[in-house]
């Protein structure tokens, strides 16, 4: 049986079960083997799940025997391999053609005498896009809003220009969220401009302000 794994958004395969087990797998690593309709997490695959359980004395159930058997499969005792084939047949998702593959490959994982006669179907595209990875190329980064500077300038020197800057800061956000990226950049520049005007005027006025009572 051939295995594919996805690590760091790269696809590795075809691998034997032993090679797959030696990959740096995590519980949620995507794995696919011939016969499966879609990619599954590594912990969902019986022959890999034991990698993530530290001490798991398997209860005597059909699904669990596969785990125990595959543990011994790395030792590759022929008797056990036969049993595993049987267990695979009992599984509902085991298919006819994959059964024969099991017998061929698992019977001699360390002896690459027999190459795979039938190339496995190409695995479906792995669902690795998490919602946190949005396409960076499509959306430009949000321009600076200068919100912090604007609020600080309201409190520290220049109320009027500070308020104007805050209004432009909100415009940056508004334009950006409605997809008008160029307008957002322009609003960002306006916010910066009013900040600089305010700070400059504030500094110029300091000597005069010192004379006030």
């Amino acid at each position: 049986m051939n295995y594919w794994v996805v690590i760091d958004r790269r696809k590795f395969g075809p691998l034997t079960l032993e090679e797959a087990r030696n990959m740096p797998l995590k519980e949620d690593t995507y794995v696919w083997r011939s016969g499966l309709p879609a990619w599954v997490r590594a912990r969902e695959l019986a022959e890999l799940a034991d990698l993530f359980v530290t001490a798991a004395p398997a209860p005597a159930e059909d699904a669990e025997t596969t785990v125990t058997l595959s543990e011994t499969a790395s030792v590759s005792e022929p008797d056990v391999v036969v049993t595993e084939t049987v267990t695979d047949t009992e599984e509902p998702d085991g298919r006819k053609e994959s059964e024969s593959e099991v017998t061929v490959t698992v019977a001699g994982p360390e002896k690459p005498v027999k190459p795979m006669p039938v190339p496995p179907p190409p695995p479906p595209a792995p669902p690795v896009m998490s919602p946190y990875m949005r396409p960076q190329s499509a959306i430009p980064p949000k321009p600076p809003t200068y919100l912090g500077w604007s609020i600080a300038s309201i409190l520290l020197c220049c109320v009027v220009t500070g308020v104007i800057s805050v209004i432009y800061a909100s415009k940056v956000t508004g334009y950006y969220e409605s997809g008008r990226y160029e307008d957002a950049v322009k609003a960002s520049e306006k916010a910066e401009m009013w900040l600089i005007i305010g700070i400059t005027v504030g500094i110029v006025l300091i000597p005069f302000e010192m004379l006030l009572l």
Binding site: P141, K142, P144, T145, L147, G148, I154, L155, M210
Partner: protein, 129 residues
């Protein structure tokens, strides 16, 4: 080094130097006593803007006098932690765009502005500092 990062480094060092000097000055001298600039708006109209008392509040804050800072400008005390969060978001804008978007959201911007406006009204109507 990219030109953008050089510009950022320049701005950052200028601001840091300015901040260091300002902190030293406001720590050493009490703004209520000597040579510090007075607010022209207050001197001309008698209206206290949101920032009035900020210098005295900073002086008090630098000496660990939280109650004094609260007395001179309560909003400053409330806004300072907010500013830390906003500035962090602005500086880490490219690395953490989602954090930046959350902090500089439309709602939060207007809430801040409304807060300052309400504060200005409140302190002029009921305030005594």
């Amino acid at each position: 080094m990219k030109p953008g990062s050089r510009r950022r480094l320049m701005i950052f060092s200028i601001v840091a130097a300015f901040l260091a000097v300002a902190i030293l000055v406001y720590w050493l001298f009490d703004p209520s006593e000597n040579f510090f600039p007075k607010c022209p708006v207050y001197a001309l109209t008698g209206i206290q803007c949101p920032g009035c008392g900020a210098q005295r509040a900073i002086h008090a804050l630098l000496h660990g006098d939280i109650a004094g800072a609260w007395h001179y400008n309560a909003m400053l005390l409330l806004v300072v932690p907010m500013l830390v969060i906003i500035f962090a978001a602005e500086f880490l804008r490219e690395r953490y765009p989602r954090y930046h978007a959350a902090v500089t959201s439309m709602t939060l911007t207007w809430v801040l502005l409304a807060l300052l406006a309400v504060w200005m009204v409140v302190r002029n109507v009921w305030g005594n500092c």
